[in-house]
Subunit: 430 residues, 2 copies
Amino acid sequence: MNPPTMPLADPTFRHRQVDAMLTVRRSDGTPCAGAEVVVEQTRHAFPFGNIGFDFVALANDEKPGAGRENVFGGADPASAERLVDLWLDLFNTATLPFYWSGFEPVRAHPDTQRLLTAATWFRDRGVSLKGHPLVWHTLAPDWLRDLPDEDVEELLRARIRREVGAFSGLVGAWDAINEAVIMPVFENEEQHNAVTRLCRRHGRIAMVRLAFEEARRAAPEVTLVLNDFDMSTAYECLIEGVLEAGIEPDAIGLQSHMHQGYWGEEKTLAIIERFARYGLPLHFTETTLLSGELMPPDIEDLNDYQVPSWPSTPEGEARQADEIVRHYRTLLSHPSVQAVNYWGITDQGSWLGAPVGLVRADGSTKPAYDAIRGLIKDEWWVPATALRTGVDGRVALRGWAGEYTISGLGDTRSFELSPGTTEVEVTLTA
Amino acid sequence: MNPPTMPLADPTFRHRQVDAMLTVRRSDGTPCAGAEVVVEQTRHAFPFGNIGFDFVALANDEKPGAGRENVFGGADPASAERLVDLWLDLFNTATLPFYWSGFEPVRAHPDTQRLLTAATWFRDRGVSLKGHPLVWHTLAPDWLRDLPDEDVEELLRARIRREVGAFSGLVGAWDAINEAVIMPVFENEEQHNAVTRLCRRHGRIAMVRLAFEEARRAAPEVTLVLNDFDMSTAYECLIEGVLEAGIEPDAIGLQSHMHQGYWGEEKTLAIIERFARYGLPLHFTETTLLSGELMPPDIEDLNDYQVPSWPSTPEGEARQADEIVRHYRTLLSHPSVQAVNYWGITDQGSWLGAPVGLVRADGSTKPAYDAIRGLIKDEWWVPATALRTGVDGRVALRGWAGEYTISGLGDTRSFELSPGTTEVEVTLTA
């Protein structure tokens, strides 16, 4: 299970950077010697994600109270409008909601068109997309409950093929199955749902196989994530069973809703190292840090904590700003971490009403917004930088993996720095 | 994973009883009509077990301080002598200690002969035997630590073949692997042991496969148990991975050291039902109930709780007597439970010095001894019972699965009532 060499954390982030020689040529192919060029990063290769729930209604031009609010909340269209630039300035990957009961409230009437519109809206703004989740016991539709297991399984398989197929080319990654560890023994509901029933009957690994099998068949090129909130040995045991069964997740998803307090560097790294040993990329799929009072530690299912109001406080906002920077530094310091997804841009309509956003309900930014921006768009970013090419038209470049533009001779071209890139050639037309 | 019909608990214990027609014949084969016979149970088919650690030294005629005390303690030979009858009156199955570091303190010098003597001592007294454990990270020998993984694996495999092979015909059941859930992440030790290292490298399921593969090959007829203290979903996930991997445990072992308090009927049944759904027999392998102060609930690894003295108290003994009866009633009420092993006959030299015994350190019996005896040898026992055969020499019999004698016409014969037995024939020679 341990890869021969376990990747280790490196707080200098060198593993996130690329060293390349840039050769600049004129349209006639001759080296552009001794020229002043300006290189500037335009996008991170690393997926800095957030949920895109808030923009589904906006992208669909829905009026407030159109009755199509997301089952997991989100900002109203008017507020969302004011969040667009803030969101796009920080994030390059959006998670879209495919909760079955919200996506297909009435059997055979899926919300495909509305989500396609939202996905296209993001795509047109240069944002990559992830779908969440394909298989989950929570938010399984009520109309499923009374059907026999055989029908539930066939409908579940068909739903996976339908969603993955319809969004192929738009949605590049999916949480194939969510919270399989608790799935067959989940009891925090008034009536048992049909997915838990099916999982209890066939076992967790059979459910994981079902999810990956159908999704892989529907779109072999997409990234399929095994996602869970359970960071205990239970998840290790599940993963080891899944791998022994020959199922091949593209990444291990680790939720990190920290409503009960920031984990701290030590615990976070310990978790990363425990799950990194399977040699698969780690995706931090659901990260939240509060800017208000913490949830009491004795709450087991976060959904059980219901409060009338959960304000963001000045002390909480200072703490959140400090913790989000420490958390992202810790995550990116480990080479196994290949995606980080924050769970909420705004407090408005947030899960449980918790002050998890980087923006307050009134639309003003919290200190955490500027703090995380300081990493993503400043410390980990190559601003417009003037360089002079040598006599051979070459110049050395070190940058964060991502997309760049180079300007000179009155022309501007774009190029990519990918991990492993050593040589880049661009031609500028005078 | 769920068998089509899940067995349910039945507090009347009917599933433990056998209804059979007994036909009594004379030596000439004619039915023994209208005869008065006396039927009496002599042994339970159900394995009522306890550890036999205390009797290893006694069986080997060792003097106190012979320096061969068991790594997990036990009574000195003189005290053990006084415990023999108390032990044999209640229990029909003994667990013998095969902790690797104690069994082979010096490489290539295993304690085989000493344990063979102990096993034979029990066998000669009508006691079935179980070995504990073949693979475990705790009490792995120190001399293993600095060897390369390849050697550790080969030595581990050879050790399994050696022990299972040498005791074949004597030891009918083994804990093939112990505590695999925590095995690869076990850290509560000064120096990491070699078994944890190997498990971390190859994964839990590979280690479980190794244990069952070697033990099965060495003695195909023995019962092989997957044993753990972890009653959480982690163990479920491990079991599901093991089953999906095609490994076939004969039973799922559930430890139940209740140093921090009796589980109660509800929790116990919930655990039984969660693990019964895999359709395998459940063995309660390590049951303890205290007759003194409880261990604080915040202790995670019971081994961390070290106290100078841990007395048995009158209140504690009353509580223990009540709880052991409730616990055994709960366990035997569920058809999936097919073995119960208590962990300690005496407080003398008990694990952690805890007052878990049914007998005090001074050799006197606690109320729990009489209480559990009231179940095993009274409520769940068929005492000498006079019956009169009909004209056809037949008489109906209901009894607990086990061994019986029948006396009449000045002769005594033995017979068995096994689950499913409907007809029994005995011939009495006048």
